[in-house]
Every structure is written in C-alpha cells, then in structure tokens.
C-alpha cells in the first residue's frame, strides 16, 4: 500500500509540473490556435533565472523561504517578459499568415532560445540548490517529501486562481470572448493584442513557476530540460483537451500517474510507451481530448 501511495505521490508531483506547463500551451492555443513550441524553453529560462538569482542572493547571505520567494518572483517576471517578447517578435507579425508559418516560427524560437542559453550559460549540467526546505512536521512522513507537497499545493493554487481570473475578471471575460471569436471581440471594443499579450505573460509565468519548483526538487538543470518537459506538457494538454484549462491540469495529472504506475508496476522501459499509448487510446474515443469541446476544423 505504501508503495502504491509513493508512486501516486511521485505521479502527482510530475503531473503537477506537466500541468503548470500545459496551462500555457492550452491558453495560447485556446486564444490564437497556435501551438507554442517555444513554451518549454520559457520553462527552462525560468529555472535558469532562478538559479542565477538564488546563487547571487545566497552569496549575500539570504536563505530559506525568502530566497525561494524572491528567486521565484524574479524568475516569473523574467520569463513573463520573455513570453511577451516572444509573441511580439515571432508570432504577431505572422498572425494573418497561413497556419503553418507561426508553427515553424515557434519551432525556430525554441531552437534559438535553447542555443542562446547554451552559449550564454553553459552546455554542462548545473547543480540547482534545494530552495524548498524540509518542513519539520514532514519529518516522519515517508511517502511524501516537502518539495512534493509544495509543488502540489502551488499547482492547485495556481489553477484555482487562473480559473477565477478567467471567470470573474474583465480581462478573463475578454479572453473568453477572443477565444470564441476574435473578429467579433475586436468589433465590440476588446483590445485583442493586449489580451494575447496577457495570455502569453500568464502562460510563461506558470511555466516559470513549474521550472523553479521541479529544478529545486530534482537538483539539476541544463539548457535542454525544456524540450522533453515541453513535449510531455504538450501531450498532457492534448490529452486533457487543448484549449481547456481544467483539461490541461487533468491531462497533466493523468499523464504523470500513467508514467509513474507504468514504471512502478510494469517496467520503466515502457514508461513512454504507456504514456503515448494512453494518448492514442483517448484520442480514438474522444478526438478532442478528455475535457475538450468538439469543434470543427482545428489543426
């Protein structure tokens, strides 16, 4: 039973990270129907920023929660700025182009950002400090570590806040309007460019949160971590129904659990086989994902 719970927690942690990244994919897709392949790189840049800030601050004698908070906040702001600029440079000029062009542009940006970090930082793996301290009340808990608890709670809070934001604020309402019909929203006075920028900023910020948390949990990063995490999160977004916020979270968790249990009860050789097999299986029966709405003619 302990074994089951431990695998459950491991899958939950991994799934939470997938979910945080998948939210960015799904929001961007919901609004401009673009698969932002450079999203994984934003996650990686968030982790790198946090590492640089944390190293600098710990030299100044800072530690504990304030260090995590400050490094996290700076990483979020920095990544959000990257997401914002990314959209302005690579996607906005192509908004009226045919659908493949921004997709190619996204792949190009992904490669560009990877190589930018590779050249500006290093190709080596770097050690990432454990910014999440162990709670004293978790000392006797064997199935879950403090960092896993923090990751899970943060993801839950972020998802709830995002849902409330989309549901109740003016900007959220505008987002939903743009997602439904961009031209009509524009005619009714919604500033579409601003809505798209905000979407990218929020998505990038969430990815950065994921990047900081998982790096602190795992303890190492390099310029390439965004690629695999991005692919997995994209899978999670599709699994849950791309364009749907609760779908992204559910997709992330389902994917995380599938991988964890596949490793635990079958073999880690088949981890990815199970993950992508599940994707195929679900798409056969629900072509638009678990919570996706059927709509005609999307990519």
């Amino acid at each position: 039973m302990d074994y089951f719970l431990e695998l459950f927690v491991g899958g939950l942690t991994r799934g939470s990270i997938y979910a945080l990244i998948a939210l960015g994919y799904t929001m961007v897709y919901g609004i401009i129907e673009l698969i932002n392949f450079a999203h994984g790189e934003i996650y990686m840049i968030g982790a790198f920023t946090a590492l640089i800030v944390a190293s600098a601050l710990s030299l100044l004698g800072m530690s504990g929660w304030s260090l995590l908070m400050l490094a996290g906040v700076i990483a979020v702001i920095y990544s959000a700025a990257y997401g914002f600029t990314l959209e302005k440079i690579a996607y906005k000029p192509l908004r009226k182009a045919q659908r493949l062009s921004p997709l190619i542009s996204a792949i190009g940006m992904s490669i560009f950002l990877q190589n930018y970090v590779l050249l500006a930082q290093t190709s080596d793996f770097l050690s990432f400090p454990a910014l999440i301290k162990e709670f004293s009340f978790m000392e006797n808990v064997t199935i879950m570590r403090s960092s896993e608890l923090v990751i899970f709670i943060t993801t839950a809070i972020a998802t709830i806040l995002l849902s409330l934001f989309i549901k109740f604020t003016r900007m959220g309402k505008a987002m939903r309007a743009v997602a439904q019909d961009k031209t009509m929203a524009m005619l009714l006075g919604v500033n579409v460019n601003r809505v798209i920028s905000v979407t990218f900023i929020i998505g990038s910020a969430l990815a950065a949160v994921g990047g900081v948390l998982i790096s602190s949990h795992i303890g190492q990063i390099n310029f390439y971590i965004g690629f695999i995490a991005g692919i997995k999160a994209f899978t999670a977004a599709v699994l849950g129904g791309i364009g749907s916020v609760p779908g992204a979270v559910l997709g992330g968790l389902v994917l995380g659990w599938t991988e964890s249990f596949a490793t635990g009860y079958v073999s880690s050789d088949y981890e990815d086989v199970f993950a992508f097999g599940l994707l195929v299986f679900i798409l056969i029966f629900r072509p638009s994902g678990i919570l996706g709405k059927t709509s005609s003619e999307k990519v």
Partner: protein, 370 residues
C-alpha cells in the same frame, strides 16, 4: 689487379651484409588503419612501433637480429584486413601488432591462426575476440568492453558483499551494453538481479524508478549510463534516505557528476581507467613522441607502445618466434610498460591494465580497488 681484388671484397661484403639484412631480421607486421577517415586511430600505433623498434635495434635487436617493421594498411575494413593479413603472412611476418578496429581484427585473425603467428592488438575491444577462445594466438593491451561490468560485479560481491542487486541502464548502446554484461556476470555467479530496467534519459524525474528500487529491497544498484541521470537518481535515493550502494561506470566517473550531485555524490562508486599519467615510462614515451614527431601522440599510443614492448621481449624470452613459445612467454612473464606492469591471462587479455574502482570521498574520486 689489386684494385679489382678490393672491389671484389667490397662487393662480397656488401652482398653479405645485404643478405644478412634480408634474411635475418625479425619481421614485425604493424596492421591497422593508416589511411582513410580512421587513420587517426591507426597511425599512433605505427609511430609507437617505430619508436620501440628503434630503441630495441639500437640495443642490438632481439635474438641477436634487427627488427624490421612491415606496415600494412587495412583502413579498418574487414574485407581489406583479410587481404592485408595474407600479404603480411606471405611477406614473412613473424609477429603482428594490430589490427586496430575490432571488425578488421576479427576478419584477419583466422589467417594469422593458420600461419601460426602471434597477434597483439592495442585497441580491439570486442569481447568475443578473447572470450570465444577461437583465437589462442590473439592478445591485447586494452580492456575488453565487458571489463568495467566485471569489475563492478566483483566489487559488489567481494568488497561490498551485496546479496540483492538492481541493474538499471539508460537504454543507450554504452549503458545498456554494460548493464547486460553486468547482468550476465551476476547470473553466472548465481545472483539474479531483482530488477533489470531502462530509464528514459532526460525525463523530468526518476522518483518512480527510485521507489521501485527501494521496494525491491536491493542492496546495490548497478547503473549503466552517463552522469546527468545518475546524479538525479543518486540524489533522489539519498533524499529518500536509502542506504543502497550505487555503482556505476566511467560515464559517471566525471567531475561534473560530483559538481551536480554535490553532497549526494558521497559514497558513490564508479569505475574509471587506471591512472597512467604518473608512470615514468608513459611520460618518457610521450616525450619521445613529441621529440621525434613534433606532436602529442594520438589514440592508443601507449597501448601500442606497451604491446610492442611485450611482443619483442616475449620473443627474446622465448628464444624464437614460434607461436607456442611466444604465447607461453606472454602468459608467464610480467613486462614493464608505460601502462604499468602487465602480463596476459589464458584468453589473451592483459592483466594489470584497464579499470579501477573509485569512490567519491569528500567531493573527489578516490581509487579504492582494482
């Protein structure tokens, strides 16, 4: 009249020395890639042979005869290697240093076996060349591909006294290859690994596989792969307060591993090449190369240097180039070489070279056993 007599004597002398050179040398065939895209693997061996033979000839040669080098270029292709071997045999090679690539070596060995010629390769690592027992005339001064796995298994069973092991690899050629050798070795010694699994390199985390290792009750993990994944797994194991030994290969014996895994790297075992950089013979051999050829020696230079020394000294000790006598001399004597003091086992693998076990102690890899 007088002049013609001197002329005659001079001619006779030239003829005599000439014939002495032609008939009475020990012929050392040096086969390998001397041209083509793999020449950088073969040419250092030829250079090493020339230097050693130069030294030996300056001291009077072996068995009172000069040593003569017969270079043979196989461009690392098996089909060429077979022809090259026939040519060396017909040119009268007494012993052969080579070949360089495992495939080419294998293709050439039958020819040498039939011609009863001893062969030493400085670089062919394919396990079956010695393990199959098909080529009693074959020796090598490099560790076979499975030597790291063997060392890991020996160390786990003899030094750490483990009873249950988990074998994990990264599904790559290198990691999985080693893991399979380790598994086979464990099974041969009556221990079935409780786990044999591959992980996906670069995955977000490895908590599930770590959990599985914990659940399996293994005393030790043998990991085949490189340091990034090893660092993640080791950290996760230590954070879960697991006491399981972690034993890995030279893909992990890298300072980056210690840098990344930090305090969690302590107590990790990894195999790595033995350190020859402090061996005075190695230093001298490298200096000699720099002086004669004006550059740093390339791949397998020291292995080839050692192989040539062993070969020539074995002939000297055997008193002939007869295959049985030379083989026996190689197996029964220890030779001082740039790789250290070496000898050869029944199969033809060198003893005293290859890999050592290292342990991370206070942020450094320290040699703990051979």
């Amino acid at each position: 009249m007088k002049r013609s007599l001197i002329f005659l004597m001079a001619t006779a002398f030239i003829l005599f020395t000439g014939s002495a050179f032609a008939a009475d040398t020990v012929k050392l065939g040096v086969a390998g890639a001397h041209s083509g895209d793999l020449a950088s693997y073969g040419l250092p061996t030829l250079n090493a042979a020339k230097l050693v033979v130069g030294d030996v000839n300056a001291k009077g040669g072996v068995l009172g005869k000069k040593v003569e080098i017969l270079p043979a270029d196989d461009v690392c292709k098996p089909e060429v290697a077979a022809n090259v071997a026939s040519k060396l045999v017909s040119d009268g090679a007494n012993v052969v240093l080579g070949h360089i690539c495992s495939g080419a070596t294998k293709a050439a060995l039958n020819t040498y076996k039939e011609a009863k010629i001893v062969v030493i390769s400085p670089s062919a690592t394919n396990v079956d060349l010695t393990k199959s027992g098909d080529y009693p005339n074959f020796f090598r001064t490099i560790s076979p591909d499975d030597s790291q796995a063997k060392l890991e298994v020996d160390f786990a069973l003899n030094k750490l006294k483990v009873k249950k092991v988990a074998v994990i690899h990264d599904k790559g050629d290198y990691g999985k290859g080693l893991a399979e050798f380790a598994k086979a070795d464990f099974e041969k010694r009556g221990i079935n690994p409780v786990l044999f699994e591959g992980i996906t390199p670069g995955a977000v985390d490895y908590s599930a596989i770590v959990q599985k290792i914990k659940n399996s009750g293994a005393d030790a993990v043998i990991y085949g792969g490189y340091h990034p994944e090893a660092a993640k797994i080791v950290s996760a194991m230590k954070k879960k307060k697991m006491k399981t030994f972690f034993i890995s290969d030279d893909g992990v014996k890298d300072d980056t591993f210690i840098k990344v895994a930090g305090q969690f790297a302590e107590g990790v075992y990894a195999t790595g090449p033995m350190d020859t950089s402090k061996n005075p013979m190695a230093i001298a051999a490298i200096d000699q190369h720099k002086k004669v050829y004006g550059s740093d020696p390339g791949a397998f230079y020291l292995n080839a240097y050692a192989a040539t020394i062993c070969l020539l000294q074995a002939i000297d000790k055997a008193g002939s180039t007869n295959i049985d006598a030379v083989s026996k001399a190689l197996r029964t004597n220890w030779f001082e070489t740039p790789l250290g003091k070496i000898s050869f086992d029944e199969r033809g693998d060198a003893k005293g070279i290859g890999f050592s076990m290292y342990e991370v102690e206070k942020g450094k890899y320290v040699e703990v056993g051979k």
